[in-house]
């Protein structure tokens, strides 16, 4: 059973300081971090991924992850910007993550795009491929920054159902609005230590 713990975590980025975060997330939980833009939703994900510095401790399965390199941390971070390796095909992008990503992409109805070079896709399609790659990764923690941005309502619904079906992972998602059916909700506006 995977477990992600944040103990007294605070993050300073530019004029923004957020914290203190004290949470324990368990396997099969999906957590929505919501709040207005500029309040630190992405900042929190970047800190958990280890891309930016933070105070406090983050434990994955009881082990501190602070000194782990991004590729060895067991945490996958999909940025808000729909970004893929443009010069290779959609299928080759998915294969970087693994076979599960390919299966998820098929489930999302992306099979007809597999042969296309990634740069030919719309931002919405890129986003779906990117999220498929993240959800299909072997990491126990998946961080999805604004996964519902750029995509249609219909695809958002499908994506939400895939996220809810995903087993064995802890999934943290950011959104500027509240979306129903997540296990836990974090209102980022309540964690403003300093926001100038």
């Amino acid at each position: 059973m995977h477990k992600l713990e944040l103990k007294n975590v605070s993050i300073k980025r530019g004029n923004l300081t957020i914290g203190l975060f004290n949470f324990t997330f368990k396997e099969n939980e999906s957590i929505l971090i919501y709040g207005p833009n500029g309040y630190g939703k992405t900042t929190l994900l970047l800190a958990i991924a280890g891309i930016i510095k933070y105070e406090g401790d983050i434990f994955l399965d009881e082990k501190p992850v602070k000194n782990y390199a991004l590729e060895k941390r067991g945490i996958t971070y999909a940025p808000a910007k729909p970004t893929l390796i443009n010069r290779i095909s959609v299928l080759d992008n998915l294969k970087i993550s693994g076979n599960s990503a390919v299966e998820i992409a098929v489930e999302m109805g992306l099979k007809s795009y597999f042969g296309q070079k990634a740069y030919t896709l719309s931002d919405g399609m890129k986003k779906l491929v990117q999220v498929s790659m993240a959800l299909g990764s072997s990491a126990p923690v998946i961080l999805l920054d604004e996964p519902f941005a750029f995509i249609s309502e219909e695809k958002s619904f499908e994506l939400k159902s895939i996220i809810n079906k995903t087993q064995g992972k802890i999934i943290l998602i950011t959104s500027h609005e509240i979306i129903q059916n997540f296990s836990e909700y974090i209102d980022i506006s309540k964690y403003q230590l300093r926001n100038v």
Partner: protein, 188 residues
């Protein structure tokens, strides 16, 4: 102001900031018996040699290559790198499978730009490699820019025109390829 080796290089040694005839003299001095490097370099004689020609071309074109490549890599999509890295891939994978393929056209374009600069070099070449010998392939052959100057200086403008036109054609072809790659890059 922090004074690093890089600053020293930018101010005093960068071929961008020193006249190229001086670069030629500097290269000559580096390999001369009075140079502090002479004990290490005494077995090498770059004067009128393919090595001297290559060194002069390399010295004047490498800063263009290095600065442009650095600028290109600085502009690379960091978020994509983080994303792929967080999928468990290390930095070598990112370099080989993300950075290089994504920037391939730029790398070729910059290489062509540097090649164009190297081909058009004159000032340092005339000092160190006026007439090049590279046995068994050729002997006493003047590099094209030196040859054009020689023709002009000795026989006059009409004699140099044909060679100048040929070099111009090559330079324009390189410029065309650079333009085509830039357009392709912008569209991708």
């Amino acid at each position: 102001m922090s004074f690093t080796l890089s600053t020293l290089y930018d101010i005093f040694l960068s071929p961008v900031s020193i006249p190229h005839t001086v670069v030629g003299i500097m290269l000559l001095l580096t390999f001369s018996p009075s140079s502090p490097f002479y004990p290490l370099l005494k077995s090498i004689n770059p004067v009128d040699d393919i090595l001297g020609l290559s060194l002069a071309m390399f010295y004047v074109s490498s800063p263009i290559y290095i600065m442009s490549i650095k600028e290109t890599f600085d502009k690379a999509d960091v978020e994509l790198e983080y994303f792929i890295q967080s999928l468990g891939k290390d930095r070598y994978f990112i370099f080989e499978k993300v950075l290089i393929p994504e920037q391939f056209d730029s790398i070729i374009r910059i290489a062509l730009l540097s090649l164009g600069r190297a081909i058009s070099e004159f000032g340092s070449i005339i000092i160190i490699a006026y007439s090049v010998t590279f046995l068994p392939f050729f002997q006493y052959v003047k590099p094209v820019t030196v040859f054009i100057w020689y023709k002009y200086d000795v026989y006059g403008l009409s004699s140099a025109l044909g060679y100048a036109a040929a070099l111009l054609t090559i330079s324009l072809l390189i410029s065309f390829f650079i333009y085509a790659l830039s357009r392709k890059n912008a569209q991708a």
